[in-house]
């Protein structure tokens, strides 16, 4: 069996007394897309932020290409993590920079290319996500939510990363724009041959962009399987979550 691109073992993270990740195990094979589902506050974002190095876990193993990034020398861990492109939930575009500079930010930082080449490359990548070159000089605040998501996707793919993370890519979008963004994600991941992890609440999106799926509940991965089985599995946790039932094994605290 080939080495997974990303391997997570017994990952734990507590915030004070609050248990967020309680021994997460996860494998993502090279060139495949994993979708992680789970309720709000279940630790999905903490999981991918731990892999990215934005959150330091309390214990566990995170391997990229077989190297434990938590134990590797700083420079090596940084180099491994530089393979990752990230699409943030709200886009996280830099307000102070025009669209093209947002897209080319990583290229300017990593590859030190001249600004005019970076701009040309940014316009090329914007075209890949369906945006015309006349948006290049606009400010992110002048764009609609869907366009901001596209720009954020363009930024994530600009340096052609080997690994891509998508944090709730369709949140805040109408169903049609959500489907468009999903198509762009699938297209980009396939074209670049990337390995990806997406976290989402949107089941239609999960099935569209995932090859495999996993459910995070109570700090642990409680189910894994092919993404299309999310809608048909007999697992009670997944069934309740995907069908949005208030009754079931997942208890939500109600404020009275």
């Amino acid at each position: 069996m080939s080495l997974p691109k990303i391997r997570v073992r017994n990952l734990k993270k507590y915030f004070g007394a609050k248990k967020v990740l309680d021994g997460v195990d996860l494998d993502v094979a090279t060139g495949t897309s994993l979708v992680v589902i789970g309720g709000s506050g279940s630790g999905k974002s903490v999981l991918i932020k731990s892999i990215l190095g934005l959150v330091t876990p309390d214990s566990g193993v995170i391997e990229i290409d077989g190297v434990d990034v938590l134990k590797a020398p700083r420079a090596q861990a940084r180099a491994l993590r530089e393979q990752i492109g990230m699409l943030f939930q709200n886009g996280a575009l830099f307000d102070s920079l025009p669209v093209w500079e947002n897209v080319a930010f990583g290229l300017l930082a990593e590859k030190k290319i001249a600004r005019r080449f970076a701009r040309a490359k940014a316009i090329e990548v914007l075209a890949q996500v369906g945006l015309a070159d006349n948006v290049a000089d606009l400010s992110p605040s002048e764009l609609s939510g869907g366009m901001q998501k596209r720009v954020a996707l363009a930024r994530a793919i600009a340096s052609e990363p080997a690994i891509m993370f998508f944090d709730e890519p369709t949140t805040g979008l109408d169903p049609i724009m959500g489907a468009v963004i999903d198509e762009l994600i699938v297209d980009c991941v396939k074209r670049l041959g990337s390995t990806s992890i997406a976290i989402t609440h949107d089941m239609a999106s999960a099935v569209r962009i995932g090859d495999t799926a996993a459910m995070l509940y109570d700090g642990k991965i409680t189910w894994t399987g092919p993404a299309p089985e999310l809608l048909t599995t007999s697992n009670l946790l997944v069934d309740q979550f995907t069908h949005g039932r208030s009754e079931g094994p997942i208890k939500m605290a109600l404020r009275r």
């Binding site: 934005l54 990230m86 943030f88 939930q89 709200n90 996280a92 830099f94 990583g106 990593e110 930024r155």
Partner: protein
């Protein structure tokens, strides 16, 4: 008994929190200073921060200095005329402005304007994941966001204070000449006779330190803000309050160091 223990526990928790905060600030300051020295450098960001801290603060600092100099001359005249010591007014104005009022008042004004803006900008970047996004784009946020602001604070404040010194002295001169009837030539001679290079340089040293403090507190509070709009608001308030208090406290320490023989 339980009530007493609760009070002690609350005091203990508050002391621990305060110590933790001081430790956090010290680590942040150390990392920021290291980021200033270590490449890569971001000249565009330094230029932008210089405009924000220096150029855009110029009107408020200028007006503050001008009116302070004017009031100082007027107040000194009211007091000194009781002892027939009106001739000392020129020296009092120029020494007060260059040594103390120029750097301190400029520091407080810049803290309220640029320090608050820094905390709000970084705080918004923090709560909207823009700082995390920088990290994922091969950019160290301390080097990209914090180091340029620290450098700009250290450079811009002495420049602002130089202008504040000139305007403060000019304000005093105008009041003395036009309102109090002093001979302008005599006033200017009196002003500069007792002024030493040390007086001006010490004020500029203070200004550079205050610039560092303003940028540090703005960045520190913004960088660690959380919880959306409310968190950003709290960070902004905290940046201004903490920088103002630190400026006043450090001013005393610097005065002690610079002027005690």
């Amino acid at each position: 008994m339980n009530a007493l223990l609760n009070v002690i526990a609350h005091i203990g928790a508050a002391v621990l929190n305060a110590l933790g905060l001081v430790g956090e600030l010290a680590i942040f300051a150390g990392t920021g200073i290291f980021a200033i020295i270590r490449p890569p450098y971001y000249p565009r960001m330094i230029g932008r921060a210089l405009m924000e801290i220096g150029y855009f603060s110029l009107p408020v600092v200028s007006l503050t200095a001008l009116f302070t100099g004017m009031v100082l001359a007027l107040q000194s005249y009211t007091g000194f005329s009781r002892f027939n010591a009106e001739s000392a007014i020129a020296s009092v104005v120029i020494l007060s402005v260059t040594r103390e009022l120029g750097p301190v008042l400029a520091g407080l004004m810049v803290s309220g304007r640029a320090g608050a803006a820094m905390a709000a900008e970084l705080g918004t970047m923090r709560v909207t994941d823009q700082i995390d996004a920088l990290s994922t784009l091969s950019t160290e946020p301390m080097q990209y966001l914090v180091a340029p602001r620290l450098i700009a604070g250290i450079i811009a404040m002495p420049l602002l204070v130089s202008i504040a010194d000139i305007l403060g002295v000019m304000g005093g001169f105008l009041v003395a000449w036009l309102k109090l009837g002093f001979n302008p030539h005599t006033y200017l001679v009196n002003s500069f006779t007792n002024l030493r290079t040390d007086d001006v340089v010490s004020g500029l040293i203070k200004a550079a330190v205050f610039g560092f403090i303003i940028a540090l507190m703005g960045c520190f509070n913004g960088y660690r803000s959380k919880g959306g709009a409310q968190g950003v608001g709290a960070a902004t308030t905290s940046a201004v309050v903490s920088a103002s208090i630190l400026i006043l406290a450090v001013d005393y320490v610097l005065t002690q160091l610079l002027f005690t023989k």
